[in-house]
């Protein structure tokens, strides 16, 4: 029987993969993808709690989160495009002028 715990563990695994992705990827696109994964993990746990708590607020929150995630990724991609125009690369290592 699949219960609350299983969903939460899945959501936790997704979150962990997202964190690993953000911290270890060199490509900015992969970092943005991992950020989406983090939000997806939160969404999964919202829906899970909504189902097991028996109210709809959690599912409603997910819609707002999807909206915010779309806005965030739109701006992220815009910056990636600008970056490609400047340095002809989307590797995070190529942006390192700001250092002390």
């Amino acid at each position: 029987m699949i219960g609350l715990g299983h969903y939460l563990i899945l959501s936790g695994i997704l979150f962990a993969i997202g964190i690993i992705g953000v911290t270890t990827s060199r490509s900015v696109l992969r970092i943005l993808l991992s950020l989406e994964l983090l939000l997806a993990a939160s969404n999964l746990s919202f829906v899970t709690f909504s189902k097991f708590n028996g109210d709809y607020a959690g599912q409603l929150i997910v819609f707002f989160v999807i909206l915010v995630a779309a806005a965030e990724v739109a701006i992220g991609l815009a910056i990636v495009v600008l970056m490609y125009r400047h340095v002809s690369s989307i590797q995070a290592d190529d942006l390192k002028d700001l250092k002390w």
């Binding site: 950020l35 939160s42 929150i61 701006i75 910056i79 942006l95 700001l98």
Partner: protein
């Protein structure tokens, strides 16, 4: 059942939204080519009207949208704070982009959007509203940070801010999902009831740590501070000013609301955490600032240091501590925005943010030199300016809550910070200028500088009324836990 909505409570937010939409419509409707004057002028007029409204209409307190939107003394006072900051930031924007030919009406919309986000954030009574408001504020800041399309530093700053900001909001959201799971609600009132009743609960503790990490990102506290120097240096200067004042204040509203209210039942645990964070943050900021050569980067590190001082008030866990935070932020607004205004004006003349280029500024423009001198000296905490009395109240709050070790660390840090602030002052007043052309400052801008200086001096000399406002706004706050000590 459809909730009854009291639009009076929302009047400020509704007006800001109307202004935002109005500006966009006007900009689209007007013919191309002569777009450079209208939107800035209308922005100033609209802001003036809002400030008059804030001053004379009087606060409307209450809750609406089923308790999702709360208007109380804390949110109302901070909205005034944001409007005041916007006044300086609009001036800076107008000056900063004077020379660039970019089409920049959209920058003004983004400023208004950030203001809307900050005002909503101050009034949120529900974690969903808090999250959306935070995202409105942060996403508009991402765009503004990367706004100088032809400048690689601005781009890099925008990228770093976006990645770390999105990471911190994901932590925040994950935390909220657990809070929702445990308490079956995202409403502050219900969560506060749950926490008061159940006390320590491992899942809620985990969730509140995730929420704290998002707040830490906003206020630039260790361990979420790495973005600060880079973003402060790379972003256009008005955006740096916005980040250092409005965004930081937004973080502290969340901190006060959540940790003096909603999660206050565990105050012993989080006071310890905040005290340790405060000590590390101020040491990091002040030691990092010692050898900086770029003034925006210096102020970035100094802003981390100030986050450390401010956290001291939160770690004190008393209403005195929270009012000290409010009072300090008020002084910090005038002080920091005066400094950034001077940086913008100097950049227009010299095209440089290097401290070495500030040599002999006193000989080139007396008013800029005096404004920067007062701002830096107030940041360093030298009496009788605003920064001194702010630090004094924070230290007093810490000592009263038996955090004497923390107060000692803060005192050492204040001494260290004087070194790097006075190093800049020495460059301005003692060193010989390499370029001697005087810097012209137009009359309206001089008025704004004069206003900032007045703020720094008046708050420092007659603290009484301002401290009273700060105390009143905390004591009448919604969700304030009943057993917070005085």
């Amino acid at each position: 059942m459809f909730p009854i909505i009291d639009w009076n409570i929302l009047s400020l937010e509704v007006s800001i939204t109307a202004i935002l939409v109005g500006l966009i419509v006007i900009d689209i409707a007007q013919p191309k080519g002569n777009s450079s004057r209208l939107v800035p002028t209308l922005s100033f007029l609209a802001l003036g009207a809002l400030i008059l409204f804030w001053l004379f209409n009087g606060a409307v307190f209450g809750t609406t949208f089923n308790g999702m939107f709360v208007s109380d003394s804390l949110s109302w006072d901070f909205k005034g704070f944001f409007l005041m900051a916007m006044n300086f930031i609009l001036t800076m924007t107008q000056q900063y982009f004077k020379t660039s030919g970019d089409r920049l009406d959209s920058f003004y919309y983004l400023l208004w959007l950030a203001l809307l986000g900050a005002c909503l954030l101050a009034s949120s009574g529900d974690f969903l509203v808090l999250f959306i408001a935070l995202e409105i504020l942060t996403i508009s800041l991402y765009v503004m940070t990367a706004y100088l399309k032809s400048d690689k530093l601005s781009l890099e700053a925008g990228m770093k801010y976006l990645i770390l900001g999105a990471l911190s909001s994901a932590f925040f959201l994950f935390g909220i999902s657990f809070i929702y799971g445990v308490t079956h609600s995202t409403r502050f009132e219900i969560i506060k009831g749950y926490v008061d009743f159940h006390g320590m609960d491992p899942m809620m503790l985990f969730a509140s740590i995730l929420v704290l990490s998002a707040i830490g990102f906003k206020i630039a506290s260790v361990p979420f501070q790495q973005w600060v120097p880079d973003v402060y240096q790379g972003a256009p200067t008005p955006v740096t000013a916005l980040l250092s004042v409005v965004s930081k204040a937004a973080g502290f509203i969340m901190l006060i609301r959540l940790f003096f209210g909603v999660f206050n039942a565990w105050h012993i645990q989080w006071e310890t955490v905040l005290a340790v964070l405060s000590a590390i943050t101020m040491c990091y900021g002040n030691l990092g600032a010692m050898f900086q050569t770029n003034i925006k980067r210096l102020l970035g590190y100094s802003s981390i240091g100030h986050a450390g001082y401010l956290l001291m008030g939160a770690a004190a866990g008393s209403t005195l501590g929270a009012s000290a935070i409010n009072f300090y932020l008020l002084g910090y607004l005038f002080t920091n925005l005066a400094a950034f205004l001077v940086i913008v004006l100097f950049y227009n003349a010299a095209k440089s943010d290097d401290i070495s280029d500030y040599a002999g500024l006193a000989k080139r423009s007396g008013s800029l030199a005096i404004a920067l001198l007062l701002a830096l000296v107030s940041l360093a905490g030298i009496p009788p300016l605003a920064g001194f009395f702010g630090k004094f109240t924070l230290l007093m709050a810490a000592v009263k809550s038996n955090l004497i070790w923390l107060a000692l660390i803060a005192a050492v840090n204040i001494v260290i910070s004087t070194y790097y602030y006075l190093r800049v002052v020495k460059t301005i007043y003692v060193d010989q200028p390499r370029v001697t052309t005087p810097i012209a400052v137009s009359f309206p801008v001089q008025l704004v500088i004069g206003f900032a200086i007045t703020g720094i001096v008046v708050i420092g000399i007659c603290q009484g009324p301002f401290l009273e406002i700060a105390m009143r706004s905390v004591n009448n706050m919604a969700f304030l836990a009943t057993y917070v000590s005085q």
